[in-house]
């Protein structure tokens, strides 16, 4: 089974990770622009970061047969920094038209301040102008309220809900998102956010439609193999293979492919892969004949 991790911060990861990801069946990834674990002090460092996402990181991924896309945006944390926020917003039109950019993001709320809301709304406008979907981060603290407010901003701005992915959902926020036309992302983490068995339980309850899973692996304690591990957990929980494939491959392509900048056929023909490869002693397959290209 081909896998797509639509949220992973590869600039923080090693080539060992790329190798393990390719071996586990990950064929395509999206690296959302986010913060770097500490605040930046200059607009210029954002520009260098955007260029790394479109340049060196794309090439690095390609060396492992993985197609790399990114999202470009001013993240909610740094929207609060008046030294950089407006400058980054002004930079974005230079980058949103690139082939490797498949959404505006991560945007949304962190502390849920007025500055965050202002730049959230401004970036929804930019997304409309560039005909791009948006990736919306939801806060760690006061998450349910933050999610409700995010959905409200989307409505106020009359942004097309089928072009919105609300990320980092849990048991409390998922029904709120599915009640709208928005898509729902889940970040599978070693300790926080969401884990594999809980994710499998959510899929059993709500089905695969508009559901996306990702590793959100970055510079913190996280795991770049969480998408393959979640695929196995879903299989073990008795979820049918077609639904798993919808979640770990078809859904991210359907959502981010709304740009016309992801061509599924290109991903399929890209690198060779071998499903018989094991990862951590487990095959992502359960009794099926491994496919090879």
């Amino acid at each position: 089974m081909k896998l797509f991790d639509p949220h992973i911060h590869m600039t923080s990861r090693t080539t060992d990770d790329y190798e393990a990801m390719a071996k586990a069946g990950i064929r395509a990834i999206i690296e959302p622009a986010f913060w770097l674990g500490q605040p930046r002090t200059k607009v210029g460092t954002f520009e260098d970061y955007f260029q790394a996402l479109l340049g060196w990181e794309r090439f690095r991924a390609s060396q492992f047969g993985i197609t790399h896309f990114c999202t470009i945006g001013l993240n909610p944390k740094e929207a609060n920094n008046p030294n950089v926020a407006q400058g980054v917003l002004d930079l974005m039109p230079h980058y949103l038209g690139k082939d490797g950019v498949v959404a505006v993001g991560e945007i949304g709320f962190d502390d849920q301040t007025p500055a965050e809301e202002k730049f959230f709304a401004a970036q929804l406008e930019l997304a409309k102008k560039f005909d791009l979907p948006v990736l919306i981060h939801t806060p760690h603290r006061d998450k349910k309220r933050g999610t409700e407010r995010s959905l409200a901003v989307v409505k106020e701005q009359r942004f097309a809900e089928e072009r919105v992915l609300i990320d980092h959902n849990n048991e409390e926020t998922l029904p709120l998102v599915l009640a709208t036309g928005c898509w729902a992302g889940h970040s599978i983490y070693p300790n926080t956010k969401m884990d594999e068995p809980r994710m499998a339980a959510l899929v059993k309850k709500y089905g695969p439609s508009r559901i996306i899973v990702n590793s959100a692996a970055d510079w913190g304690v996280s795991d770049p193999l969480k998408v393959p591990k979640t695929a196995i957990a879903m299989k073990d929980a008795g979820i049918v293979a077609a639904d798993i494939e919808t979640i770990v491959w078809k859904n991210p392509i359907a959502f981010f492919g709304q740009t016309g900048r992801i061509v599924a056929a290109d991903l399929a023909s890209n690198a060779s892969y071998d499903q018989a490869e094991l990862f951590e002693g487990n095959s992502v397959l359960r009794g099926q004949t491994p496919a090879r290209t």
């Binding site: 479109l54 060196w56 794309r58 090439f59 230079h94 038209g97 690139k98 082939d99 016309g260």
Partner: protein
């Protein structure tokens, strides 16, 4: 200069011409979006080999918009494929020696496809690179497993210092028990018998 425009298929040609040459923002947007507008199918540029249609369209936009946008800014803010198009187009722009700092900087990239765009099947280094930069480029090509036959004018630019660098590189490889690229001997000095 219409070499790029003339090389394009009719629909791609019309698309390039439809972008106003004095509209800076439209040029920048078209340069980024060229692959989605005209595709990446092979397109022959007479005397310069086969490029992607998007690369030829980007080169044509660069030539037409030369008064409004510069190769340097398109390179600086370009993704990998945009950067490759700028580098391939350099020798065919007016007064190409102006772009020497850009061409030399491009050789410092770690992205192999960008390095190849300036170093391989490109007349620019042969015509304009000082010896030090030309030699460094040749050695980097060999180091990265790029066939030296792809460097235009290598025979004409061979020099003693390059021969020494190649011999030292070969010795370093042998000492490490690693294979020496077969084509390296072509730039080493012939030993008088």
């Amino acid at each position: 200069m219409t070499v790029f425009l003339d090389a394009l298929p009719a629909t791609a040609n019309e698309w390039v011409v439809s972008v106003a040459a004095d509209d800076r923002l439209a040029l920048l947007a078209a340069f980024s979006g060229a692959a989605r507008a005209v595709g990446k199918e092979p397109c022959v540029v007479p005397g310069r080999g086969t490029w992607g249609t998007d690369e030829v369209a980007r080169a044509a936009l660069l030539v037409r918009g030369a008064a409004s946008v510069s190769p340097e800014e398109l390179y600086d803010r370009g993704d990998n494929r945009e950067r490759q198009a700028v580098l391939k187009a350099l020798p065919l722009l007016a007064d190409p020696e102006r772009f020497l700092p850009l061409a030399i900087e491009a050789c410092r990239t770690n992205v192999l496809t960008i390095f190849e765009a300036i170093a391989c099947e490109n007349t620019y280094p042969e015509r304009f690179f000082p010896e030090l930069n030309f030699n460094q480029m040749v050695l980097k090509a060999s180091f990265n497993g790029v066939a030296l036959a792809r460097i235009v004018g290598l025979a004409a630019r061979k020099n003693d210092e390059l021969a020494r660098m190649a011999a030292d590189f070969a010795a370093e490889r042998r000492a490490a028990g690693r294979p020496v690229p077969a084509d390296l001997s072509g730039i080493m000095k012939e030993v008088a018998s």
